[in-house]
Symmetry: C2
Subunit: 377 residues, 2 copies
């Protein structure tokens, strides 16, 4: 952690801009960690401006270097009167270890952003900081939801489904997951699909190396049975085992896996998409004819590029905590930060945290019933 | 297994075409399982024709329904005198379980194709059949190489490296791999990169969810140390941990992982590439202008399409057996089968099986030395 450059002191210095009405207001309030991203607070403030254009009824609590933030915000007319700047002395860097941040992270912008959700001032927090540290601070300050053993990170994965995205979890909160964790990921993923994608009865698939029931790792068969038994009472359809190729397909809406496998799959897909994107760019620069072709097709190519642009689907949601936290890519620019904030707004407005807690609470006894049923077989 | 439609009988009926000189000849002989693929023997024979065009000095031993194969081969002038057809009564289907094929698989075209390698008639076998059954029969008939505990399936992965491909293993031979297995995969992957990609000193990466040494699953740190210690004496460079996004990158030439993770990564990448391919096609049909653009860019788009066409990189190599077996995609068409056969030819000509055996044999004691060194630290 490094000390922020600041002339002011104190933990929660108000900024020059007027603060939002945090109490007794129906406005959605989003807590922002403005520091810790690779591009600094200017990219975060630019992202706030972009997201407010489409959501004029929201307000921000912005954590970080108050003098710098106040200057950046003052330049943006659209943000006038919508930001409550809270000064933070310190910044969590990309190299800080989660254990270190848990012990010494008080006073960082990340810690402050999570605490605004903890104390009820904001509904959702957004940070571009170090994933491990953000998960550690979130678990420490928000605590796990009753009934949840391992929180997960869920993301929206571009897909061929009408909603345009599938939900994938866990993409890296925890490298391990036992069968019960995977069953809870199914409940959490179904809830995310209902609130984030407006799907009443999402189809859940369990990631494996084959689709037959007798294939794959040993613990996956047990998870298969637990998820199958939980499906009816929890309003989702269980598709069974799915393979890597099904992740962006119309076969499922939610893909459940452990955080090791999910993270590898996510990074592999991102790597493949950028490899193909570079090949496309190369193809259109290859000859004079193809350059002319690119001119004719420019609108269609721009649409395509938007569709597979990882910045536009930026935002991993931490699921299973008493509060919702969104992790934005460390190198997110204004477009990326804006995508993460818009996701935060959508989940805040849908009352996602409460709905997820209710689902997990109702799903957990159901799992116990299931275990009793299994012994009868 | 289903009985082939045949009027002739006997295990090794010669066909009407003259057989290759299997003994005392310097020609490369490839054993082909012509049945068991989704598209039947016609696609396999068409693939043989395509591959012989670029390699006139090879011959084939072709296993399957002799009357049907003889008819198909007789229609192809290029194959005249180059094929020795061996009749097989039975076919391994895509639904047959590996255990069942191990017990009752004798007399299938798959079994026969492997036995041609076992008895030294052919150098490499190629099959489009069921992966699990093919691995089971290969292990049963060829046996594991001395010193190898788990065989692996290695593939060529399109990459930005000058050689155009990286090697990835294991992509699905075994869902488990302990640290010693991963170290052996590094030796086998390095040998494949030397013989398949002509890289004298390949760079090996170990797949993980982060690149720092203290991240990821517990067994991976142990594998990290084993591979690092084996690097110098086995003529490869160890890059350390790599992430999913590095698989097609210039950071490494060989990516080592367990068969569960590798299979998920492979299928995810294939799914992502076909998703993007469909989006590209959609983009160019979107408007009249983009259709005109596609006409100008047709050559460049065809080049791009070839580059990311999974048929052209078809062929998973079974590594760690006393003989080389190549698994072609079940739904491979002539282009796909031809790619698998060309890979077989390249590996056969390079004396790959012997070189790999020598590398594993020299690498295994090295691992023991390494363990002794570690206790000194």
């Amino acid at each position: 952690m490094t000390a922020g450059q600041t002339q002011t002191s104190g933990q929660e210095t108000g900024s020059g801009t007027s603060g939002p009405e945090t109490h007794g207001s129906s406005r959605t309030i989003i807590s922002i960690d403005a520091m810790g991203g690779d591009r600094g607070p200017a990219a975060v403030v630019a992202g706030m401006v972009k997201s407010i254009a489409e959501n004029p009824d929201i307000r921000f609590i912005v954590h970080g270097d108050a003098p710098a933030l106040t200057r950046l915000i003052a330049k943006r007319k659209r943000l006038a009167g919508l930001c409550d700047v809270r000064h933070a002395e310190k910044i969590v860097s990309m190299d800080d270890k989660p254990s270190q941040v848990m012990r010494h992270g008080k006073g960082t912008s990340m810690w402050g952003a999570i605490d605004s959700v903890r104390n009820g001032e904001a509904t959702v927090a957004v940070s571009c900081g170090n994933t491990g540290a953000l998960m550690a601070v979130s678990m420490l300050r928000l605590r796990k939801m009753p009934g949840v053993s391992r929180p997960a990170i869920g993301i929206l994965w571009p897909s061929e489904n009408p909603q345009g995205f599938n939900v994938m979890l866990d993409v890296g909160a925890d490298v391990r997951a036992d069968p019960t964790d995977l069953m809870q990921y199914a409940l959490m993923g179904a809830s995310y699909a209902r609130n984030g994608l407006k799907l009443a009865n999402p189809r859940i698939g369990l990631l494996n190396v084959g689709t037959e029931e007798n294939k794959g790792r040993s613990g996956l068969k047990e998870a298969f049975d637990l998820i199958q038994n939980a499906a009816t009472n929890n309003k989702f359809t269980f598709t069974g085992f799915v393979e890597g190729g099904d992740i962006p397909s119309t076969r499922v809406d939610v893909i459940v896996t452990d955080g090791f496998t999910g993270n590898i799959a996510l990074k592999t897909a991102e790597g493949t998409a950028s490899f193909v994107r570079r090949l496309i760019q190369g193809a259109f620069k290859y000859s004079l004819l193809s350059r002319i072709g690119a001119l004719f097709a420019v609108t269609s190519l721009t649409r395509l590029s938007k569709r597979i642009d990882p910045r536009r689907v930026n935002g991993g949601v931490f699921l299973g905590l008493n509060g919702t936290v969104i992790k934005s890519h460390g190198d997110a620019d204004a477009i990326g930060v804006s995508a993460a904030i818009q996701l935060a707004i959508q989940l805040a407005k849908s009352g996602f945290t409460e709905k997820l807690a209710a689902r997990v609470a109702s799903g957990t006894p159901e799992r116990e019933d299931t275990k009793i049923d299994q012994t009868k077989e």
